[in-house]
């Protein structure tokens, strides 16, 4: 099994649209690169690129793929080698026309202070991002 180097993981994160966590003032400065990716449904993926070794072993790479990146090895290498972003199950699932929000999500957004008019046309991913932001500010 082909195994990656830290540069390959970094390239994957860039191609797949992950966001690198900034070292905010007052926060611990890490030796690792921490990346996160928001998925529909409010899920968030997390990975940290360690520089502890030049490349990854097979068992560890398998766990990184399954648990952290949630892609297959083929999808990973396709992103790294060809720049093709992976499609995860559920990410591009078809939705009926017209955006709707789960009840609990709409309720929490209103409780967090979002005016009702601003719920209109809000997609689920955007609504979840907004909710996280509103709750952080409270």
């Amino acid at each position: 099994m082909r195994v990656p180097r830290p540069d390959d993981l970094r390239r994957f994160c860039i191609v797949d649209g992950w966001v690198r966590a900034a070292d905010a003032p007052g926060r611990r400065v890490s030796k690792h690169e921490v990346w996160t990716k928001r998925l529909p449904g409010g899920r968030v993926l997390h990975t940290a690129i360690s520089k502890g070794r030049a490349e990854y072993g097979v068992p560890l790479f398998a766990r990184i793929l399954r648990a952290q990146l949630q892609v297959t090895a083929a999808q990973f290498w396709s992103a790294v080698d060809k720049g093709e972003a992976p499609q995860r199950p559920g990410v591009h699932s078809s939705r009926p026309q017209g955006e709707s929000l789960p009840f609990a999500l709409a309720e929490r957004l209103l409780a967090a202070g979002l005016p009702q008019a601003e719920l209109a046309g809000l997609g689920q991913a955007e609504a979840e991002r907004l909710l996280a932001e509103l709750e952080r500010r409270r």
Binding site: V34, H46, G52, R53, R63
Partner: protein
């Protein structure tokens, strides 16, 4: 068990801390129900340790060592076991920072709460190592 109104708790905070450190949980709320609890950190750590054990997995090769922590889904690497442990401590601290900032509200990360809190409560690297690898860091191969 004492239940404090928020205004009383604010005025008499040092008493709350003193009692909490003696092992008496102090419940505080704005109305009749408790909203927050002030408790002894060591007791909380002990309760969490019993409920949320860590079981790191070690992959040793000639070229080096890798450790996977299934409970937080993070890893450490190094040319020696000690280096990999140190790297994993760093990764666990990174995870807790990200968890606090963003992950804890995510439905696919919420189940890691108990383990993340254990790392959070261990407030320096040596204690984090103890939480992850047991009381004798340096010999965690299991």
């Amino acid at each position: 068990m004492v239940r404090w109104q928020m205004s009383e708790a604010r005025k008499d905070f040092s008493t709350l801390v003193e009692r909490a450190s003696r092992g008496e949980w102090q419940l505080v709320g704005r109305r009749a129900r408790a909203e927050v609890v002030l408790a002894d950190a060591a007791e909380i750590a002990e309760l969490l340790a019993a409920a949320f054990p860590f079981a790191p997995e070690v992959f040793a090769e000639e070229a080096g060592v890798e450790i996977w922590l299934p409970e937080l889904e993070v890893y450490g690497q190094g040319s020696t076991l000690a280096e990999a442990q140190d790297d994993l401590v760093e990764a666990a601290l990174d995870f807790v920072d990200a968890w606090e900032a963003e992950l804890r509200a995510a439905p696919n990360q919420r189940h890691k709460s108990g383990h993340a809190r254990r790392v959070q409560l261990a407030d320096d690297r040596a204690r984090v190592a103890e939480v992850l690898f047991g009381a004798t860091p340096g010999s965690p191969l299991r």
